[in-house]
Amino acid sequence: MMISIKGLRKVFTANETKITAVDHINLDIKEGEIFGVIGYSGAGKSTFVRLINRLEEPTSGKITIDQQEITSLRGKDLRVARRDIGMIFQHFNLLWSRTVADNIAFPLEIAGVPKEDRKRRVQQLIDLVGLTGRELAYPSELSGGQKQRVGIARALANRPKILLGDEATSALDPETTDSILNLLVDINKKLNLTIILITHEMHVIRKICDRVAVMEDGKIIEQGDVLDVFTHPQQEVTKKFVSQVMGISDEHEGIKQMIELYPEGNLFRFHFIGETTNQALISQLAKKFPIDIRILKGKMTPTQHGAYGTLYVQMIGQPDDVEKCVQYVRDETSVKVEVVQDAY
């Protein structure tokens, strides 16, 4: 385990009232994993991520990163341990008085890296995040996406074991968000870096996370592989988040209408959960079996582990062929088939 969190709690006292921002969190995060924590604002996720590098002091609980117990460190030991934990922020938090190169060099200065090595490392990082040529620019001359690239380069400067992202894409437009997320996946693969992302956007989870935890009122109310959570959201909050990317499910209304529109029947629902081997499933079926397939309605979304979504189709052909086709999908692929309305 890269990160192991046990019984983590944080209680704030404001005006003599106690607020439990983080409530008994237990979590294990594997090396090289991209772990997402999603929740609405006020759910305690930002406090949670700050507890990991002790920008906030935990009230109780234990955090271990790569066999080192972070929660027991003091003073200099803690500062040295923090060099192994990169962090990126929603508002980038760059020093405007320094150039791009000097911003990235800052954590190296703190770590006492000699000037020549610093220069070399900074250039590597600038190339890695795709900012070549902008070394001498000041943050005020950069776009939001470029600023976050500087933030990422800075966070990676001391070759950390883990990277914490606190709403790292929330201040960016959708297109820039995607390019930053792609960069994070890239870095994750290249460096086998463990990444923890805090977000309120399901899109971020869907796009790059392997596993996800859903937070509400300081607790983790649901966690698991992203695909599982997408397919079988248990809690209300999770369902809401899933519908953020999948759209609001108006299934019942839609099905009724579909049955009315296609009274000849043979309506099926294909449920894709992480199908990767049969990406061209529909055209394959049409080639393999003497049937026609009409797509009626559907919503698909790609995740790190393949496509997730539902497709409503009508299969037109001999009952025998249709049945064989359905059987084939059930046996040969991970797509789940459900009969919506059979032929008369």
Partner: protein
């Protein structure tokens, strides 16, 4: 040429007075800058939620700053006579004005420094902490550089107040243009000297303002 227009003006005295004004202003400004930054940092670091949060020290420093800002400068000089004499062995001349000038303006600048530091985005400090920076690194590599334009425009404002203070100090024997205007001009009814001295002070103020604005602008990369 100036002496044709202003018959009572003696160039030698005038230049001596101007030199003394510059001497007092610049030296006092250096002292004010150092002590003001110390005071401002202390106020900022010990405030609630600060890096060295400490209610007691914050209250004490805050009180000292407020008291010295509240005392009118002309009275402060008188109050500090014993201290000045102890420190420098004299209470006359430009040098003797320095302790009062610094003690009079450092608290004012200290407040400006505190405000400037509060303007530094908290997230930047947090980012530095997350990188493993210690408090000294945060002070010298984050807080002061990030606050620099405000620190410079603050010292400019303070410099201009200081020039006014030197004139006041001049009236009670510190030398400089204030001294020249009062003793050689006003008391002898040679008003041309008062006029020339005033114009000279205004020009000095403009020079400081110009230099301050220039650097504040140049350093500001926001």
């Amino acid at each position: 040429m100036l002496t044709d227009w202003f018959p009572n003006l003696k160039m030698e005295d005038f230049w001596q007075a101007t030199y003394e004004t510059f001497y007092m202003t610049i030296l006092a400004l250096i002292g004010t800058f150092i002590f003001g930054i110390l005071l401002g940092l202390l106020l900022y670091l010990t405030m609630e939620g600060g890096l060295w949060e400490n209610k007691f020290i914050n209250a004490v420093v805050g009180a000292v700053v407020n008291i010295f800002r509240a005392i009118p400068f002309i009275i402060l000089i008188l109050l500090l006579f014993p201290f000045t004499e102890f420190l420098l062995g004299t209470i006359r001349g430009p040098k003797a004005a320095l302790p009062a000038l610094i003690i009079g303006s450092a608290p004012f600048y200290g407040r400006l420094v505190e405000i400037a530091l509060k303007e530094v985005h908290k997230g930047v400090v947090e980012a530095a902490q997350a990188m493993g920076a210690n408090t000294w690194t945060i002070i010298f590599r984050v807080l002061l550089p990030e606050a620099m334009p405000a620190l410079i425009s603050g010292i400019t404002v303070t410099a201009i107040a200081l020039i006014g203070y030197t004139a006041m100090a001049g009236v009670i024997g510190a030398g400089g243009l204030g001294n020249y205007a009062y003793y050689f001009g006003f008391q002898r009814r040679d008003f041309d000297i008062v006029l020339v001295s005033s114009v000279a002070i205004v020009i000095i103020v403009f020079i400081f303002q110009f230099i301050g604005d220039y650097f504040s602008k140049k350093i500001d990369k926001r």
